[in-house]
């Protein structure tokens, strides 16, 4: 494949993505949670040829390359302190969408936001979306993301029909379940270590309304919440539990389940209106405040006492919400809770080693209740109570390094400060031991802490070796690397938590 220059210096200019950025620049690149980051040269290709040129560029400079989309991974998955970063978010064209089959063919940098805005008026919604609408499809595929319907439809990989990948040698290959199925199932969930995904073809779901039917169900503790969710995996399309992680004793794991289902044809008499993009927009103000500034108020509560109060209040509100029974909410409002308050992460601080990590653990159903209870108890006991806890039900999928299993996940947002960092890492080390003992796993889109021994322990027999063999095959000289790769697959093999 011809490798065109990344900066041809021509007169052609285009403004794309959420902010116009230079084609190349030296920038500070950080994980979404802000707790990890490093400066790097960022290359922003606009075509497959330029992706290959980016690979050649890094090779010429003799440095490793990290792939990045919109930087939504919480940890260091798209951070590279040792080389360059290739940001594909500028390749953001939807190439085609077939209204009859719901199949969308998209460039790598198309975000979930762009995708649903395109498909919704055409009566479709992405099969799988994350809690934020800003990830790119390449990032979503590379991380094999899941949504609140993981128990029902699997991960986004299950909805992907075909991907184009530029391999480290510059070759462009098309992968699906028939053509190189081994590579297809490894690239999805391969966190950008096997090649750059440049095109994603995926199916979307036919919907008959721009709304879902939602009900809040307040739970007094973790067992009650898990029992409710288990009892409704058949009749719910989405199930997600919010937890007040400050509650202990008999109330540990109390919270609110959101149970939602798609509307059938004819149920929404206003479908023509609700299927418009404008109907989906999130509110512009929250309690009368412009939402762009709301994080400043959250910052006032960003300590144990304040967040304890916020969580307690939310739990009480949850009891009231339960009385409403089923009510309707737009797809965007239901799915993208993380986008309600823009920049809410700034409440955790804005630099200088401040931020948050999300520590999400996946545990098989048999051991889930005991392990998750212990995780909640231990983190509280160690003085690192999570300010936000989210419980989800999962199912296995055929991807090589998948995080999903027949069980449960608990996502915990831990505050990071320079003073508390060491003790937080020590605490997650303890939690990691609990999770591994329960046969659990971790998820690279979120992770910032696990070490080589954890990666070795968490995958099914042989999976990691098969992945590493593929890595050696397609990237023998290790062009594609990230801070995460070096943390989890390099360093001291005896460590369960990396420094």
């Amino acid at each position: 494949m011809a490798a065109a220059g990344l900066n041809p210096g021509g007169a052609e200019r285009r403004v794309s993505a959420r902010e116009a950025r230079p084609r190349t620049g030296y920038e500070y690149i950080e994980g979404w949670g802000m707790a990890v980051g490093a400066p790097a040269r960022v290359l922003r290709p606009r075509s497959v040829d330029e992706v290959a040129a980016g690979f050649a560029h890094a090779r010429r400079d003799g440095v490793p390359l990290t792939l990045r989309g919109t930087g939504c991974s919480y940890g260091d998955a798209s951070v590279n302190r040792a080389g360059h970063v290739l940001d594909v978010s500028g390749m953001d064209q939807i190439l085609s969408f077939d209204r009859a089959t719901g199949v969308a063919d998209c460039e790598a940098g198309v975000t979930l936001s762009k995708l649903w805005r395109h498909t919704l008026p055409r009566g479709h919604w992405p099969m799988v979306v994350s809690g934020t609408m800003f990830p790119t499809l390449a990032g979503a595929a590379g991380m094999n993301i899941h949504g609140k319907n993981n128990f029902k439809v699997g991960t986004i990989g299950d909805a992907i029909l075909e991907v184009d990948v530029v391999l480290p040698n510059g070759e462009l290959v098309t992968l699906d379940r028939a053509r190189r199925p081994d590579l297809f199932h490894a690239v999805i969930g391969g966190f950008g270590m096997l090649g750059a995904i440049t095109r994603v073809k995926l199916k979307t779901k036919r919907i008959y309304s721009g709304e879902v039917d939602v009900k809040g169900v307040s739970s007094a503790n973790l067992a009650e919440m898990m029992a409710y969710m288990d009892a409704h995996t058949a009749d719910a399309d989405y199930l997600v539990g919010w937890l007040d992680c400050f509650a202990g004793g008999a109330a540990q794991g109390r919270g609110l389940v959101h149970h939602a289902r798609y509307l059938d044809e004819g149920e929404d008499l206003n479908a023509e209106r609700t299927l418009q993009v404008g109907y989906q927009e999130l509110p512009l103000s929250i309690l009368g405040f412009p939402k762009g500034e709301v994080w400043r108020m959250l910052r006032l509560f960003n300590h144990d006492l304040g967040m304890g109060f916020v969580n307690w209040t939310k739990h009480q509100m949850g009891k009231l919400e339960e009385r409403k029974g089923f009510h309707r909410q737009s797809h965007a409002a239901f799915n993208f809770l993380l986008d309600y308050v823009p920049n809410w992460k700034f409440a955790y601080g804005r630099g200088g080693g401040r931020g948050l990590i999300q520590y999400q653990v996946f545990v098989p159903k048999e051991s889930a209740h005991a392990a998750l209870s212990e995780v909640l108890r231990r983190s509280r006991e160690r003085g690192h109570t999570s300010y936000l806890g989210v419980l989800k039900r999962h199912r296995p999928d055929p991807f090589l390094l998948t995080h999903a299993l027949d069980g449960w996940s608990l996502a915990l947002d831990f505050k990071v400060t320079p003073e508390r960092r060491a003790s937080l890492w020590a605490t997650t080390d303890e939690l990691t031991q609990i999770v591994l003992a329960a046969g659990g796993r971790f998820y690279f889109a979120k992770d910032a802490v696990i070490g080589p021994a954890t990666a070795r322990a968490m995958y099914p027999e042989g999976a990691l070796d098969r992945f590493l063999a593929l890595k050696r095959e397609v990237d023998p000289d290790g062009l594609l690397q990230s801070d995460l790769w070096r943390r989890v697959f390099g360093g001291d093999p005896s460590r369960f938590t990396a420094e």
Binding site: R21, P22, T24, G25, Y26, E27, Y28, I29, E30, P39, R41, R350, G351, G352
Partner: protein, 250 residues
């Protein structure tokens, strides 16, 4: 030793005048400073002079009119410094202009240094600070940017343009926790002003640099006249009606 106000600083236009003084003062208080300027010999002399200072000086020869070299130079020095907390654009040219001179080539060359170089370096620094969500960006404008004077049509225009650019950056970067400070020095005794017949209320470059670093440290100023009394002078000058202003020798 007191810890430095800035850990890592980059000064563009560092070989003489205010820029060189800034490098001296920063290095002496322990800041790691990258000194960027056209003349390698001057940079070498500065680095030699500061060899014993607590803050290391990293010299990089670069002509600010060589816009294509800016990204590489920026990356090189920031990598060398291990990050960036303070950026100062102090490169400036003010050639002598005769009363009836209209020399386009000379004027555009001045714009390239005062404005073009500022935009090229400023964009690289602004993008870096934007992505880092912290940083202090200082641009050295001039009282000459306040009014269109007979004596310096393009110098004044270049500084007015630069100050407008800095104001936009300030408004753009405020939500990213980045501070942009416009410095408007009065008459400072530097090689750039050496050809002027008389200097009004002149100060030495070391005093100017001291005041600039003081203003850069706090959060009080968006635009700071150096020394401060030029603020009052400027108020008066700016309020003179045009039909009178043209009769003055200002």
């Amino acid at each position: 030793m007191v810890s430095p106000r800035f850990q890592r600083a980059l000064v563009v236009g560092a070989s003489s005048g205010i820029g060189a003084e800034l490098v001296r003062q920063l290095a002496r208080e322990g800041t790691r400073v990258a000194a960027v300027a056209r003349r390698q010999s001057e940079l070498d002399a500065l680095a030699h002079e500061l060899a014993g200072a607590p803050g290391a000086v990293l010299a990089r020869a670069h002509d600010v009119t060589d816009v294509a070299d800016v990204p590489a130079a920026f990356e090189e020095v920031v990598r060398g410094l291990g990050g960036l907390d303070l950026f100062v654009y102090a490169a400036g040219a003010m050639p002598a202009v005769a009363p009836e001179e209209y020399d386009t080539e000379k004027d555009l060359a001045m714009l390239d240094v005062n404005l073009g170089g500022c935009v090229a370096w400023g964009n690289a620094a602004a993008r870096y600070f934007h992505s880092q969500r912290s940083g202090t960006f200082v641009g050295i404008g001039s009282i000459a940017g306040d009014r269109g004077r007979k004596g310096a049509p393009v110098y004044g225009a270049s500084k007015a343009g630069m100050e407008h650019y800095l104001e936009s950056l300030r408004n753009r970067l405020a939500e990213r926790n980045v501070r942009v400070l416009t410095i408007k020095p009065g008459m400072v005794e530097t090689p750039m002003t050496a050809h002027l017949d008389k200097l009004v209320m002149p100060i030495k470059a070391d005093r100017a640099a001291r005041e600039i670093l003081g203003a850069a440290q706090g959060r009080l100023w968006n635009v700071r006249y150096v020394p401060l009394r030029w603020f009052a002078v400027s108020l008066v000058i700016r309020s003179i009606p045009s039909f009178l202003f043209r009769r003055t020798s200002i």
